[in-house]
């Protein structure tokens, strides 16, 4: 009883301060918990989003929680405990879909809540197809692709430039690293086992197709190190443990450009995926107003373009693309390092959210059983 009264009182005070702040012309005050991935990615968000926002709203104090990898489970636990401590959460699109399905993320009306493009194009047109699901606010397009050791390419052989080179142990001997989950690996395996790109998901939906993909992976199985964290592959490449491995393109960018490792990019059959915000469902009014004010700012055309100056991920808005400039510290042109650059995006996949939402449990069970053999 007492507790609820205290809560009521504090939220009343909260509403009152929010009201006062609004009257003063600033929407947002107080501390604000953002959840992200840490590392270079979070740094790019600090530089592009929160620093400029704080400059305009000195009352806001941002607190970062580097929990995005466990965001789905943690949000579910918070929801069950009835104690929501996060204000805004950065997740990949597939997690956003699941949070939305679970009722843990708030539904978004893009045109109402997000800023239009500078030329007046509505937000929903500007983001276009990238607004997957009902709850997801996209920020960036990233890709899962391959990096290889340039000094380990055998003499007299072209560097790998085809996804099937990963499966070609004769021409390109050495260890590989792949993510220890079926997503992406199954698609690549089918693609290199003669399945046409357009048919990949139809084939993968059948038991025979799944067997076929696993059989193809079986051919390189003894040469694969399976990774769990995005940082594993760059580390394995830097240590010379593997010849070629998959990871997120931004990780490879920083290994190549910022750390000068002898690593080359292999963009063929890269899989595009999206990362963005979700607003946890059930935020109290005052906190929600503050969050929406920030989201509106942080996902406008300029802010998304700014982020690309710190990390090689493509902005999710069409209108941001022309504004992408040079790297903020190194001064190099960012466009050629973007997964969406025409030279890199000759052959691409888009993560099939609908398919994996359905098949993930089933194929994962088979994949893990196969791994454990």
């Amino acid at each position: 009883m007492k507790l609820s009264k205290i809560l009521l009182a504090t939220s009343a005070v909260g509403v009152a301060t929010a009201g006062l702040a609004y009257a003063g012309g600033h929407m947002a005050t107080g501390s604000f918990t953002l959840v992200s991935w840490g590392g270079a990615y979070q740094a790019s968000q600090t530089n592009a989003y929160t620093n400029p926002y704080s400059a305009n709203n000195p009352g806001v104090e941002f607190v970062w929680d580097e929990s995005s990898a466990e965001a789905v489970a943690k949000l579910r636990a918070m929801n069950e405990a009835g104690n929501l401590t996060w204000d805004l959460v950065d997740v990949v699109a597939s997690d956003a879909l699941r949070l939305c399905d679970e009722g843990l993320a708030m539904e978004i009306d893009a045109d109402e809540m997000l800023a239009p493009a500078p030329d007046g194009t509505s937000a929903s047109d500007d983001f276009g197809d990238l607004l997957v699901g009902d709850c997801f606010i996209p920020q960036i397009v990233y890709s899962t692709t391959f990096g290889y050791r340039t000094d380990m390419v055998p003499d007299g052989v072209e560097p790998p430039n085809d996804i099937c080179d990963v499966f070609d142990l004769e021409t390109y001997p050495g260890m590989r690293s792949l993510e220890s989950r079926p997503i992406n690996n199954m698609e690549w395996a089918l693609l290199c086992d003669g399945v046409a790109k357009a048919d990949v998901y139809d084939v993968l939906a059948t038991d025979e197709g799944q067997e076929q993909a696993l059989a193809k992976l079986d051919t390189i199985r003894d040469s694969v190190i399976w990774w769990n964290a995005g940082a594993d592959t760059p580390q394995l490449l830097a240590d010379g443990e593997i010849f070629i491995g998959s990871t997120y393109n931004g990780r490879l960018f920083s290994a190549i450009v910022e750390q000068n490792q002898p690593i080359g990019m292999m963009w063929d059959a890269q899989v595009f995926d999206l990362d963005g915000w979700i607003v946890p469902a059930g935020l109290p009014e005052d906190r929600l107003a503050r969050v929406m004010d920030f989201v509106n700012f942080a996902t406008d055309t300029q802010r998304l373009a700014d982020q690309a100056a710190y990390i090689s991920y493509g902005p999710a808005r069409l209108s941001s693309a022309p504004l992408v400039g040079n790297h903020a510290e190194l001064g190099i042109e960012m466009a050629p390092h973007m997964p969406t650059d025409p030279n890199n995006a000759k052959n691409t996949f888009l993560y099939n959210y609908e398919f994996w939402a359905d098949y993930r449990d089933d194929i994962d069970a088979k994949f893990q059983a196969w791994l454990a053999q």
Binding site: V72, E102, W226, E354, D358, W370, A372
Partner: protein, 573 residues
């Protein structure tokens, strides 16, 4: 305590006096006249209570942080109320369907499904159910998601028809006035309970609407659907019922009510509010679109025409299920009992066995490596023993993650150990040893990490074995080996027992080290549990796996007690 004792003392003496002459005249009495037995029991009870109060904080802490979470975890592994909570009427209607032959459930099931799913979709609960059922059968997640999106369309047909029959149905107020009255409180109560079951909140409070019992008898489905809508509108949306327009489901319910021949007959004598629009609707019955919810559902998603999807819903409709436990031992529930899973999905038994075997190997190597170290510690002079002790404890104080990552640097193919071996010429540069990302890596790293848990109990037991025993054995003619094996070793067994239990039980639940250095064949069951907690969100399965692991540990503990005897375990002195 002192006071109680002194009183007991007094009773004793006075009893002693009395005993001599009143031996057979009844129970012994204390000084205040109560029987001695009662008095003693009371004093002891008070002592016990006082002792209990001393440990009460700890007890509460243990209950709160240990018993309750474990209990809730055990509960989660069998709990399955989501299906009957979200689709209560469908589950009831499915009772009559056995699913053995190749016929889909009949129209009544699909009708129930329409109203259940409509409610669920409004409250955004249908996707939760979809994710839950997708663990059992692929495709159900999107089936529920897409159908939830299109379910308005199924009802809209009837809305259009009713509004054509009488435009008054367009206004929410028509509905409100028609259904308002008294006598329908029971139904409202019933529908509140349905909401509360599904959403998990109280759904109490005034809804600004009371149902007419007369209409509820005339138009039962309409009354139910309208009540559902009214409760949700008032409680969840916090809107005023009389000002809002009802859901499409309410229109569909009225169409269903009107389509029943007896309703038309009963309505001829109805003169209450809304009699005119109802009469108009009856008159328009010939133009009522065909009622075929089954076809409508299959059009939304053809999964509803798949008999196996329905079988899954039926199998998982009870409130409690053994399904998670069966999944956890590579079995699955079918309509006719329990089957083994297809071979290409069998995983967990293998992981349990691997976890057990590797934990045993790790325990064995800890004994092998720890015993000599503990012996040294116990027998060296104090000064050098202390230095050695610090060396044992130092890694113990270092972060687990750091130690494991350090092993990564040492063990990898281009790592320190391989480099040294290549430099020494023991290993060819082209065939470097694979020491990690497999079970070898897990065993090496975990042995090192758990070693202190073996050495410390061993040391504390060995410290208490008097060195004179060994000397005595030798002076009586024993060889070094016999003296050790027959005299020293048996006395150190309690230390081995304690260390083994500690190391084994810690190893069996280890997660982080296998995850980092285990690759694929060095991971434990706990890694799968972690996956189901944080990635797949299948907490029921994770709970079942955890419960089995807990049961295994308890069983092994019991076995250990039977064979070695838990009294023989010593952590010190």
């Amino acid at each position: 305590m002192a006071r109680a004792n002194s009183r007991l003392l007094k009773t004793n003496t006075s009893d002693g006096d009395r005993m001599s002459d009143t031996t057979n005249s009844g129970p012994m009495l204390a000084a205040d006249g109560t029987p001695l037995k009662t008095s003693l029991a009371r004093a002891l009870r008070r002592q016990k209570l006082r002792a209990l109060m001393l440990i009460a904080p700890l007890l509460a802490f243990v209950v709160l942080t240990f018993v309750v979470p474990i209990g809730s975890m055990l509960f989660r592994s069998v709990e399955n109320q989501i299906v009957s909570g979200t689709l209560p009427e469908t589950v009831e209607a499915l009772d009559a369907w056995h699913g053995q032959d190749d016929t889909l459930p009949d129209e009544t099931v699909f009708q129930a499904l329409f109203f259940d799913l409509f409610r669920a979709a409004e409250a955004k609960e249908h996707t939760k159910l979809g994710s839950r059922l997708n663990y059992e059968r692929t495709g159900l997640s999107s089936m529920f998601r897409t159908t939830g999106r299109g379910i308005d369309d199924i009802g809209e047909v009837f809305q259009d028809w009713l509004e054509d029959a009488d435009p008054a149905f367009k206004d929410g107020i028509t509905w409100y006035e028609m259904l308002s009255g008294t006598g329908g409180e029971d139904l409202i109560q019933e529908r509140r309970a349905l909401w509360a079951n599904m959403v998990g909140e109280g759904f109490a409070g005034d809804i600004g609407f009371t149902l007419s019992g007369e209409i509820a008898a005339l138009l039962p489905q309409t009354a139910a659907a309208y009540s559902d809508w009214a409760i949700y509108t008032a409680v969840a949306d916090e809107d005023v019922v009389s000002e809002e327009d009802p859901w499409e489901a309410v229109y569909a319910a009225l169409a269903l009510d009107l389509a029943r021949p007896e309703t038309a007959f009963a309505l001829t004598s109805y003169t209450g509010v809304g009699a005119r629009p109802l009469a108009n609707a009856i008159a328009a019955l010939p133009s009522l679109p065909q009622i075929d919810f089954r076809a409508a559902f299959i059009e939304e998603n053809d999964g509803w025409g798949n008999i196996e999807n329905w079988q899954t819903i039926k199998i998982y409709s009870p409130d409690y299920t053994t399904g998670y436990f069966l999944n956890a031992i590579d079995m699955e529930k079918g309509l006719e009992g329990v089957n083994a899973r297809p071979e290409n999905q069998q995983l967990y038994i293998k992981l349990f066995v691997r976890t057990m075997i590797m934990s045993l190997i790790i325990t064995g190597s800890c004994i092998f490596l720890g015993y000599p170290v503990a012996w040294l510690l116990a027998n060296l002079p104090v000064r050098s023993a202390n230095v050695l002790m610090i060396l044992v404890l130092l890694p113990f104080w270092t972060s687990l993650l750091v130690r494991t990552s350090a092993w990564k640097v040492l063990l990898q193919q281009q790592g320190v150990i391989n480099d040294i071996l290549v430099w020494l010429g023991f290993v060819d540069d082209a065939n470097r040893l694979i020491l990690m990302n497999n079970s070898t890596g897990t065993i090496i790293a975990m042995t090192h990490i758990l070693l202190p848990f073996m050495i410390l109990p061993l040391y504390s037991v060995m410290k208490t074995i008097p060195p004179s025993y060994l000397r005595a054995a030798k002076s009586l003619g024993a060889t070094n080996w016999t003296a050790f094996w027959r005299v020293y070793f048996p006395q150190s067994v309690p230390g081995i027992g304690a260390g083994s239990i500690l190391v084994f039980i810690l190893a069996i639940g280890y997660y982080i080290t296998p995850e980092i250095v285990g690759g694929t064949d060095g991971v434990f069951i706990s890694n799968r549990i972690a996956y189901h907690i944080s990635s797949s969100l299948n907490w029921g399965l994770a709970a079942a796996l955890g419960s089995i692991l807990l049961a295994l540990v308890l069983a092994l503990y019991w076995l250990y007690d039977r064979i070695v005897g838990i009294d023989n375990v010593k952590l010190g002195g």
